[in-house]
Each structure stands twice: as structure tokens, then as C-alpha cells.
């Protein structure tokens, strides 16, 4: 189970930010404004979303407390319980970090059935993936004693992207039952590291311990800070050396680069099945960025077999013979694993998210929701499931309680709170409230908060959750 954005937000329809996960949602206020550049409120509580997650382990799995000796232990400590750590890991594990900052977000409702949105946001997303086999290998000193007769998957990848987006959206109530919406976004990539292929496997022959290593890796990079001029293998230091030029870009060049354009679209729909049941679906971040600025594409593709040293050159006790033999061994490995480099432009793709869910209305104030969410990357669907109770308790206060299965974790209780006074709407939402109290045990920690300015909201006393509501 895996997800990124706050799932609890999906049914917080009083928030304009709900359109970020379903563009068909139409909060009732005529005009909504939020973002970093909104005076005072924008700086006090900038509308931002932060997410950190790990599918494989929690903090306490990596920083272990041994009560017997009253000590903290990390993986380099003697007595660190690797078996415990490994028991928590899946075959492939992810660590994610997201930071979304709304620069400006405006929503405008027109003629009761249209709503238009405009937003500018800056987004940073980082995802590391690694295998359990890789951690096993590290835990054993890098020689795979546990993989005798097996093939270890040592893939490790990274996807890190920082970009700006300008979105223009519209939603329309087509009839009493169906509302649809879409947001078209222009993207401007700033930096990217993308390991498109990460295939690296290592097998150890059970009989003679012969190593067979297969590598098929591609890493794409585009960034404004450092230009690689050349790279080579340094035999003396026994490592790869990259030499280049620090580009020393200005802040303006970093934040307002338009050299890497892209586009994306969000699609959403809301369907009122009957008086009790509403259905929702959306697809978010269908899009790409074309990276042109300071591009490097490194590829490694090869097979390497090491089945032991031939002692006969060493028996000669002739330094030149021995050195030539050793160099040949190193050269053989380098020849295979020395990356090839290209500087062609490339496309990277956002992580599409699929949301499908529905709510059941118990009464005017309370409903229950279910949401399936799937994020698509590495050619796989990474799923999460959220159950929620959503309550507009008063016309100025709403509360939301959720339970999510995500990040291979099943103890995520989410909370959302929305409070309104005058034109100010304060909100905070998280999928795992325990994460703030028990950070050592949590695998997911996210929060979205901010202040919206709300204008032209309906003056009715309705607190219903049926259909769109105002607050």
C-alpha cells in the first residue's frame, strides 16, 4: 500500500484545495484566494503540503533502542538488529518526500454551474527506491553470503524533480447528477534526476561462489548547478571521478527557468447516484516535462563474471606481471560498468494518480467515504485505501477522521479540521495524526495547512454534506 498526497483531503469539499485531487469539486463560495503571495495570511500560514513516507521501515527500525544497555543503535553499531530491520522490508521499498507550495490559487464560481480556477505552485518531489536484497548485502559487508545460489536484486533508483506549474481549470455541473472538471497545467522544470532503469542483479554460485553481475541502468539528469565536462575511472583512488564546472546560477536563473517546458492535465468527475450515495473519480498529473537544460544521460549495460583470482601470475613474484594481471582484472570490470554518456534532451513523466471513491450520507452533517488511490510509477500501480468519516459539525467548523492503509502501514489515523471566521478559512489535514506523537513508529507523515480567503459564500445555515457546501 502506497500513496503520496493526503487522502483525507479528498472528501474535504469545503476546501478549495480539494480541487487539487478532484477538479470537479466546486466549493460554494464565489471567490476563493490563497497562496504564498496573499498578504499576511499567505505568509503566516502558506498553503502548503508536506509529505514524508517510507514503505519499508520506520525511524525506530533504523535507530533502534536497546533497553538492556540503554543505548541507541544505528546500522553501523555493534549489535544492531538487522534481522528486525529486514523483517520490515518488502522486496522493493520506497522513501518519498514531497513539498508543494501554492504561490497563488484563485477560484471563481460563475452562474452556479461553472467554477474556474487558476493557480501557480512550486513542487518538489523525491522518491528513492531500494531493494531488501541491497540492504541485506550491506548488512553482510557487501559480499552476499545470504545469496548463495540465488540472484539478488540490487536495484536502487531515484526520482527527484523540482518544477513550477501554472494551472487553469474549469468544472461544470452538467446536470443534477454529474459534475466534471479539468485542469490544464503548464509545467516548467527546474531540476531532475531520474533513474529510468535500475536493473542490477548479482548472483552467487552456491558451489564455487562465482559472481555474476548484470547491470542495465539509465540515469537522466538536468539541473542548473553543475556541468559535467568529463568523467573517468581513477585507478589510484579506485573510484569514478566526475570533473566539471560549477555554473553558479543566480536565484532567478534557478527559480524562473523556462528551458524545460512541460504540460499536464487533471481530470475529475462527481456523480450523484442517489440521495445517499455520491461517486467520485479523478486522474491527476497526466503529464510530462521535456528536459533540455544541461542534460546528461548515463547508461550502464553489461555483464560481469568474477570467478576468482588466478594465482599463477602472483607465483612469478614479478611485479610487472602481477601489476599487469591486476590491471586487466580491473579493466575488465571498468569496461563493463563505466557509464556511457549522452546529452540529448529527454522526457520525464509526472506520477499519475488515480482516485476512485464514494460517500454514503448518514444525515445532513455526516457521511462516510471510501477512497481507493493508485499511483503509477515503475510500471506498477501503488495503491492505498482510505475510509473516512466526514462531518460538517457547524456552519463554521468541519472535522474529518480517516483510516488509511498506505506505505505498507495499517495504523494510520487521519484528521482534518476546517474552521472559518469572517473571510478566513483555516485548515489543517493529515493522514496520520499518530505520526506527530509517535514519530519513531510512523512510516508516513504528511500535513497540509493554510488559510484561504473566501468571498461571496452563501449565507444559508445549511450544514449539509450533500452536494457542495459552503462554510
Amino acid at each position: 500500500m502506497f500513496a503520496q498526497q493526503s487522502n483525507t483531503l479528498f472528501y474535504m469539499h469545503r476546501l478549495p484545495q480539494a480541487t487539487l485531487v478532484n477538479p470537479a469539486i466546486q466549493p460554494d463560495c464565489k471567490l476563493t484566494i490563497s497562496g504564498l503571495i496573499v498578504p499576511v495570511s499567505g505568509q503566516l500560514f502558506p498553503a502548503m503540503h508536506t509529505n514524508m513516507g517510507s514503505t519499508g521501515f520506520a525511524y525506530k527500525d533504523m535507530v533502534q533502542y536497546n533497553s538492556v544497555i540503554d543505548s541507541l543503535m544505528i546500522p553501523t553499531s555493534k549489535g544492531f538488529d538487522y534481522e528486525h530491520l529486514l523483517s520490515k522490508l518488502k522486496n522493493v521499498n520506497f522513501i518519498t518526500f514531497e513539498e508543494h507550495l501554492d504561490i497563488i490559487s484563485v477560484g471563481y464560481k460563475w452562474k452556479n454551474d461553472w467554477r474556474f480556477t487558476f493557480n501557480i505552485a512550486s513542487k518538489t518531489e523525491l522518491r528513492l527506491d531500494f531493494t531488501k536484497d541491497l540492504i541485506t548485502l550491506i548488512s553482510e559487508g557487501g559480499n552476499g553470503g545470504s545469496f548463495s545460489g540465488e540472484t539478488a536484486n540490487l536495484s536502487m533508483g531515484i526520482t527527484a524533480t523540482q518544477w513550477h506549474e501554472i494551472g487553469l481549470g474549469a468544472s461544470k455541473k452538467l446536470n443534477d447528477k454529474l459534475t466534471i472538471g479539468a485542469t490544464a497545467k503548464l509545467l516548467f522544470g527546474q531540476s531532475n534526476v531520474w533513474s529510468k532503469k535500475t536493473n542490477l542483479d548479482w548472483s552467487t554460485n552456491a558451489t564455487d561462489y562465482t559472481y555474476n553481475i548484470n547491470a542495465d541502468m539509465e540515469v537522466y539528469t538536468s539541473q542548473a548547478f553543475y556541468q559535467v565536462d568529463k568523467y573517468y575511472y581513477d585507478y589510484n583512488a579506485d573510484s569514478m571521478v566526475f570533473e566539471g564546472t560549477n555554473l553558479n546560477p543566480s536565484t532567478k536563473q534557478v527559480l524562473f527557468s523556462f528551458k524545460n517546458p512541460g504540460a499536464a492535465i487533471n481530470l475529475g468527475a462527481e456523480y450523484k447516484l442517489n440521495d445517499k450515495i455520491n461517486l467520485y473519480a479523478s486522474v491527476i498529473d497526466l503529464g510530462f516535462i521535456k528536459w533540455n537544460n544541461n542534460v546528461n544521460v548515463f547508461t550502464v549495460n553489461g555483464k560481469y563474471k568474477f570467478d576468482g583470482y588466478d594465482p599463477q601470475p602472483y607465483a612469478t613474484q614479478n611485479d610487472s606481471v602481477i601489476n599487469a594481471h591486476n590491471d586487466a582484472l580491473v579493466d575488465e570490470a571498468i569496461e563493463i560498468f563505466l557509464p556511457e554518456r549522452q546529452i540529448d534532451s529527454y522526457f520525464s513523466y509526472l506520477t499519475p494518480k488515480l482516485n476512485i471513491g464514494g460517500t454514503y450520507q448518514f444525515n445532513e452533517k455526516i457521511n462516510a467515504g471510501i477512497l481507493y488511490r493508485g499511483d503509477i510509477y515503475h510500471r506498477k500501480l501503488h495503491s492505498s485505501l482510505t475510509l473516512s468519516g466526514n462531518a460538517n459539525l457547524t456552519k463554521w467548523f468541519s472535522a474529518y477522521l480517516s483510516y488509511s492503509m498506505m506505505y505498507n502501514s495499517y495504523t494510520n489515523i487521519g484528521v482534518g479540521l476546517v474552521a472559518k471566521g469572517s473571510i478566513f478559512q483555516f485548515f489543517v489535514v493529515t493522514d496520520n495524526i499518530f505520526g506527530f506523537f509517535m514519530p519513531q513508529s510512523t512510516r508516513v507523515l504528511n500535513a497540509r495547512l493554510g488559510i484561504n480567503l473566501m468571498f461571496g459564500c452563501k449565507k444559508s445555515n445549511s450544514q449539509t454534506l450533500v452536494g457542495n457546501s459552503e462554510l
Binding site: 553501523t76 555493534k78 549489535g79 545469496f147 506523537f437
Partner: protein, 528 residues
């Protein structure tokens, strides 16, 4: 409702504070252990080699020890120079003292008084030399007299010439010894008869009576020749006992082996222009334990050894001893000699034929090479090959602080026609055995020989996989080990029934050794 919300908020806050209070130790970084430790669970393919027989037996600087025929059949060849003598060691021209001449005073009185003399020159008994070309030679003349008046004395040697000019000496010291060095002269000993040298005295201004006399002694010394022509005479050549070192048995201590077709080849290289008779009477050896073998009768005689007829050339001659003409040869090889000795006799002009036209030049050389040819066709039972190599266990294993076990895995494919049994002994600096790879002989690694065809040639390799585990206790025994002694016994296929096997150049033992170490070590991660 408002009270309920407030109460709920309080409950949540208290709940959270309680949890954080209980788990604060996770964030108390003062309790972080400072040691740095790396678990070790390594499986490493350590050795992968394919040893052919020449790798096992030969030293790397002696590639010439093997011969491979067209079918790849191997023979071990060891050779050494048993005997090598230059002309100056065999043909030595001794100093020659002429018979002194005693001349009466009245015989030499006057001017230009010439007296001719003759001396039969021979440095060797029975030699009839035609000429000697010298590099250098010294003539020494000693004069004594009781004459009233002395004058000048010149001695001429018409047979000793250089570029047509005869050698002569002007004796200024008429009451003493005069020496003169002559370089590049040739002495003609044939014109006036074999070995005959003419010379003459020329007196000027001497005056004496019949009662007075002059005594003159002439010696030819330091005869450094370039060429000697003529019959040199019959001589014995001093052939001291010499040895040939062979190292095929260097690592072999025990066991029995049998070579089906051993050979010894003598090669004689001769640039003396004269007949030489070579006689080898006996052969014997001394093994690596300094024990001498019995004497074996060779009964070899070569008369004459081939010799050149043109100056500057050389002639070769060979003699091969094998099982057809030397019944002793198999027994002799079985003694595993380290050094081989032989009793030899040489003669120059053994037939004493004075009509032989001999020549010797200063670069003439007679060499006798002794070559052992051991075609690897036979059988062996437990000959033991041993070797020692450094193994500083204290250094090696100090890198790993806590070893649970070390496991050695061997994957051996034997393509040789021998069963191989392997053991290793770990010894300290005093040579005391600290441990061995196997405690019992029956536990030794045994790799059966490859499967052979009817001709004894391996047609299929035999595979053996072995595993040896050293636990913590056994590893502790190795901490003082400084060397490891490898022992390998070999045994050819079906040796009990006398089966003979053959070894070919491509017969090989493929050895793979992997090591599996489990434990842990202190590790300074700050270096990485």
C-alpha cells in the same frame, strides 16, 4: 457540542504527550553507541586456476624443461653441462729449455762469426708439430763466459717469423739473462724436419782463446698459442667427476614411481681438430637426503668423437641411453637423484697415429652435455609433492574481529591421469604444526584421476567438491601460524595392476576455491 470538542482535543493532546514521553529515548542521541561495526557474511570466489603439469613441476624460469611432441605428449627434459674444457685447459705448451751451447773462445773470435745450431722442439711426448702460431711467446737467453774481450751477440731464429721477418735478439748483456717478448710470430717446425727449430749465433768483436769459452742457454717460455698444427701426440684428458643437477624430484619425498621409457642423451661438442676418445664407465646419483645410489655400469666408449677438419668449425656427436641399450636406466631413475655423477676417461690421439694431421686453436672447446629425457609415461604411487608458502594468519584474521566460522569450498576438476590427495599443515615460525586441514588421513581431499582410454590418455575429467569449515575454536589455533605446507600425493590410475598412463600438455587440474567467512569487524566508516 463545544464542550465535547474541547474534551476530545484534550484527550488527543494528553494521548500524544504520553506517547512522546514514553518514547523519548529514541531521540536521546547522547545514548548513541559510538562503536562502528560491520557484520561480515562474505562468500568470495578466491582462486580459479587451471594447472597443467608443467605449472606444477617446473620453475617459471625454466621453460625449456618440457618437450611436447606433435600429439601433445609431454617429456621432462633436464640437461646440464657435465664437462667443458677449453684448449688452454687440455693442450698446454710447457716451457722449453734448449740444450745449452758451450762455445770455445777461439771459435767465436773475430767479426761476423756465425754459428748455426739446431734444436729438436717438442712440448709433448710423441708430438710431431708442424707449426705453432703464437699470440705471444718469450725467449730468454742467459750468457756466461770467461772471455778476455766481449763484443756483440745476435741470435736469430729463421723458423720464427712474422710477416717474413725472422725473430732475432741482440744480446747486450753478455754476462747475464736477456728476455724478449715476441707477439704474432709463427714457429715453423716442419721445414727442417718435425719438431726441428734452427737458430744461429752471430758474434762480432769477441776475442778469446781456446781455453776460454762462452755458455749460452735459450729457453722458450709463456707460449700463448693461437694455432698448433701437426701431430700433437697421445695424451689423457683429465675428466674430474662432475654432477648434473636435476630438479624433477625436488619436491618429491615419498612414494614410488616408474618411468616406462627414460632416456639419457650425451651430446659431445668438439672444436678440437683431432681424435678424442671418450669413455664413461659408471653412473650414480645422490638424492635429496644426500644418499648415494649404487654405481651403474654404463660401458660407453666413443672413439673417436667427431671432430672438425676445418679450423673454426665444430663437430657434434651424440649417444642415447635408453631401455634398449642401458638396462640400468629405470633402476637409476627410481633412485630419485638430485645430482648425477659419472666416471669418465678421455684420450687425445688414442691410436697414437703420428700421421694424424691435428690442429688446435686457442678457442677450441670440448663440451659434454648430459640430458635426462623422461617421457611422462608410467605409473606412480604416492609420490608426495610439497610446497610451502607464507600465511600470516595473525595479520589476515586480525582484520576480522569476531569470526563465527570460515568455510573453504573446493571445486576441483581433475584432468590428469592421477588421483590426487591433498592435505595442508599450518606451522609456526619454529616449524611446529599448529593445525592441519584434516585430522585424519582418510579425510584428505581425494580427487580421482581423470578417466583414461586404453592408451592411458585422459578422456574425461573427474570432479570433486569439498568443503572444510573452521569454527571459532579452530581459527584460534591458527593465530600463530606463519606458513602453510601443502602436501599432495599422487597415484596413477590402477597402479596396483601396473597400468601405465600418459601425460599430455593439455592435461589439467582445474581448481576453484571459494571462501565463506561469517563474523564481524570493527570498521571505521569515516574513512569512506
Amino acid at each position: 457540542m463545544r464542550k465535547k470538542i474541547t474534551l476530545l482535543s484534550l484527550v488527543i493532546v494528553l494521548f500524544g504527550v504520553t506517547f512522546i514521553s514514553c518514547k523519548k529515548e529514541y531521540f536521546d542521541f547522547d545514548k548513541m553507541r559510538e562503536d562502528q561495526w560491520q557484520n561480515v557474511n562474505m562468500q568470495v570466489p578466491l582462486i580459479n586456476t587451471s594447472l597443467v603439469l608443467r605449472d606444477i613441476l617446473q620453475d617459471y624460469d625454466k621453460e625449456e624443461l618440457f618437450e611436447i611432441d606433435d600429439e601433445g605428449f609431454l617429456s621432462l627434459i633436464y640437461n646440464n653441462t657435465a664437462y667443458s674444457k677449453h684448449a688452454e685447459d687440455i693442450i698446454i705448451l710447457d716451457d722449453v729449455d734448449f740444450i745449452p751451447d758451450n762455445l770455445s773462445g777461439n771459435e767465436i773470435s773475430g767479426n761476423n762469426i756465425t754459428i748455426n745450431k739446431n734444436f729438436n722442439f717438442s712440448s709433448f711426448l710423441g708430438a710431431q708439430l708442424d707449426s705453432i702460431r703464437y699470440d705471444s711467446v718469450t725467449i730468454e737467453v742467459t750468457v756466461s763466459h770467461n772471455m778476455t774481450n766481449t763484443g756483440a751477440l745476435t741470435i736469430q731464429f729463421p723458423g720464427l717469423t712474422k710477416n717474413g721477418n725472422m725473430a732475432q735478439m741482440l744480446i747486450s748483456n753478455t754476462s747475464g739473462t736477456t728476455s724478449q717478448l715476441f707477439t704474432g710470430y709463427e714457429l715453423d717446425l716442419a721445414t727442417n724436419g718435425p719438431n726441428n727449430i734452427d737458430y744461429k749465433y752471430i758474434f762480432n768483436g769477441w776475442n778469446g782463446t781456446a781455453a776460454q769459452s762462452v755458455n749460452i742457454s735459450i729457453s722458450i717460455k709463456n707460449q700463448n698459442y693461437k694455432i698448433i698444427n701437426g701431430y700433437i701426440g697421445h695424451h689423457n684428458i683429465d675428466l674430474p667427476k662432475d654432477s648434473v643437477f636435476i630438479d624433477i624430484f625436488k619436491n618429491q619425498f615419498d612414494g614410488q614411481f616408474y618411468f616406462e621409457d627414460p632416456k639419457i642423451k650425451l651430446t659431445m661438442i668438439n672444436s678440437f681438430g683431432l681424435p678424442i676418445k671418450l669413455q664413461l664407465d659408471t653412473i650414480y646419483g645422490k638424492d635429496y637426503d644426500d644418499n648415494y645410489s649404487p654405481y651403474y655400469l654404463m660401458g660407453f666408449e666413443k672413439n673417436p668423437v667427431n671432430y672438425p677438419t676445418i679450423k673454426g668449425n665444430y663437430a657434434t656427436d651424440e649417444a642415447l641411453f635408453d631401455t634398449t641399450n642401458a638396462i640400468w636406466i629405470r633402476d637409476f631413475i627410481t633412485t630419485k637423484p638430485k645430482y648425477v655423477f659419472f666416471d669418465a676417461l678421455g684420450e687425445i690421439n688414442p691410436d697414437n697415429n703420428i700421421n694424424s694431421n691435428n690442429f688446435v686453436i686457442d678457442t677450441s672447446l670440448f663440451t659434454l652435455n648430459l640430458e635426462f629425457q623422461l617421457p611422462l609415461w608410467g605409473r606412480a604411487e604416492y609420490p608426495t609433492l610439497r610446497d610451502t608458502s607464507k600465511l600470516d594468519m595473525e595479520t589476515e584474521f586480525s582484520k576480522i574481529d569476531d569470526i563465527t566460522y570460515v568455510k573453504f569450498r573446493f571445486d576441483i576438476n581433475n584432468g590428469m591421469a592421477t588421483e590426487v590427495r591433498v592435505q595442508a599443515y599450518f606451522i609456526d615460525t619454529l616449524g611446529v604444526i599448529q593445525d592441519s586441514l584434516f585430522t585424519n588421513r582418510e579425510d584428505w581431499i581425494v580427487i580421482d584421476g581423470g578417466i583414461t582410454d586404453a592408451n592411458g590418455k585422459v578422456i574425461q575429467k573427474t570432479r570433486k567438491i569439498s568443503e572444510i569449515v573452521y569454527d571459532r575454536n579452530r581459527i584460534n589455533k591458527l593465530k600463530n601460524v606463519s606458513d602453510v605446507v601443502y602436501v599432495a600425493e599422487i597415484r596413477t590410475d590402477d597402479v596396483e595392476n601396473g597400468k601405465l598412463v600418459k601425460f599430455y600438455a593439455d592435461d589439467a587440474i582445474d581448481i576453484k576455491m571459494g571462501i565463506h567467512v561469517k563474523g564481524g569487524t570493527n570498521f571505521d566508516f569515516s574513512n569512506y
